[in-house]
Amino acid sequence: MRETRLWSLHLLAIPIIFVLLGMHLAIMHYAPVFYGMSVDKAREFGTMIERGKSVVQFVLYILLLIAGLYHGLYGLRGILRELPLTPTLIKVVDIGILTFGLLIFALGTYVTWWTFSFKAGG
């Protein structure tokens, strides 16, 4: 059931992205509507740092990172594996995409953690 599980997770990521990306848009781009705050203010460094210290936001952004990366990279794998590849190249694609995904996840997690644990002047 390996491919079925991978594909099911690919679909499961869609509603997760839909909800979390919606929240991201509400916080960042529709701040005047939802928070009565100007977009410029919502994007200010200080405001971002302040938001980033929220545990809820930290968890939600990590979830969005996982869901977005998984959905996008599984789709990319599907496109690449439709090419007439040799078995060796198929392994290269699979391992390459997994490695790339882990690296981007590590980077995204680091940035989110950096924001979460940011200390002014520290």
Binding site: M1, R2, E3, T4, R5, W7, S8, G78, R81, E82
Partner: protein, 279 residues
């Protein structure tokens, strides 16, 4: 292509020719054919072979859309030559080529081995844990109309291979199992007499399985028997997902009823009702 007037009875057939024995590249030959109302492409090909080109090769048998032998690429669509009426195509020039997505054996003859191999790969038969019961059944399995209805349309498949010729995914990914095999996988998985669900699903749960379907639906349009393989693939996906989370059909729930001996006995003991009208 221009629309043919209804009075015209002389049409041009552009036929794709290929003979591996001569080593020449595939090319197009044109033949003029006098066509009559109701004439099929297959009949036109017979006329060409009889009167103009005796070496022209194709595969056909029943002439009535049952055997699925005469699949061809007619006016850029996969169709059965015996079911395609020439005048219904509505063009002055009719192109006839071998089915795409298959190796070409000669002229209009495709090599259907990919179709057969993929069909065989999905175990297209009722799987029963007791092989003795399959070879020498001691009873019959109950199947009510609703249970049959769950997969009935997929039993109409005649293995003509038009769906694979129409499939854009098969065109780019020859390893894709394709609409015919996957729809048949659903047909046997949905059959309440089958006990090999896990075995069959295991054999198709791979990258080149149902998840490669792009849902173009060309297979369903091409099918000459009205089967909807694209729908079958979606049903198969649902079956696979349910099975992967533990809600699938683990084994046949069918009840074995009416031992054959009882049926034979019942027939033997059958007495016709008394006559109500004297002769």
């Amino acid at each position: 292509m221009t629309t043919a007037p209804t009075t015209s009875r002389e049409l041009t057939f552009r036929v794709r020719r290929f003979d591996p024995d001569t080593g020449s590249a595939p090319h197009w030959d044109s033949y003029t054919v006098n066509v009559a109302e109701g004439m099929t492409v297959l009949e036109a090909l017979h006329q060409i072979k009889a009167e103009k080109e005796p070496t022209l090769a194709w595969r056909s048998s029943c002439r009535m859309g049952v055997c699925g032998s005469c699949g061809m690429f007619i006016n850029d669509l996969p169709r059965l030559a015996c079911q395609t009426q020439v005048l219904h195509l509505g063009t002055h020039v009719i192109t006839v080529a071998p089915l795409p997505n298959y190796p070409n054996v000669k002229d209009l003859v495709p090599n259907l081995e990919p179709l057969i191999e993929k069909h065989a790969a999905i175990k297209p038969f009722i799987i029963h844990p007791n092989s003795q019961e399959v070879d020498e059944p001691t009873g019959e399995f109950l199947q009510i109309a609703e249970e049959r209805e769950a997969f009935s349309q997929f039993t109409y498949c005649i293995k003509c291979g038009l769906c694979l010729a129409a499939c854009p995914t098969v065109a780019t990914d020859p390893l894709f199992l394709g609409p015919q095999a996957l729809a048949q996988a659903y047909r046997y998985t949905a059959d309440n007499r089958d006990c090999g669900v896990e075995e069959r699903l295991e054999s198709i749960d791979m990258f080149h399985g149902p998840y490669q379907c792009h849902m173009a639906g060309a297979c369903s349009v091409a099918c000459p028997k009205g089967v909807d393989p694209a729908f079958g693939i979606q049903l198969l996906k649902r079956t696979l997902v349910l099975d992967s989370i533990g809600f699938g059909k683990k084994k046949s729930s069918v009840a074995k009823v009416s031992p054959l001996a009882d049926v034979v006995k019942a027939i033997e003991e059958f007495a016709p009702p008394p006559r109500t009208v004297s002769q």
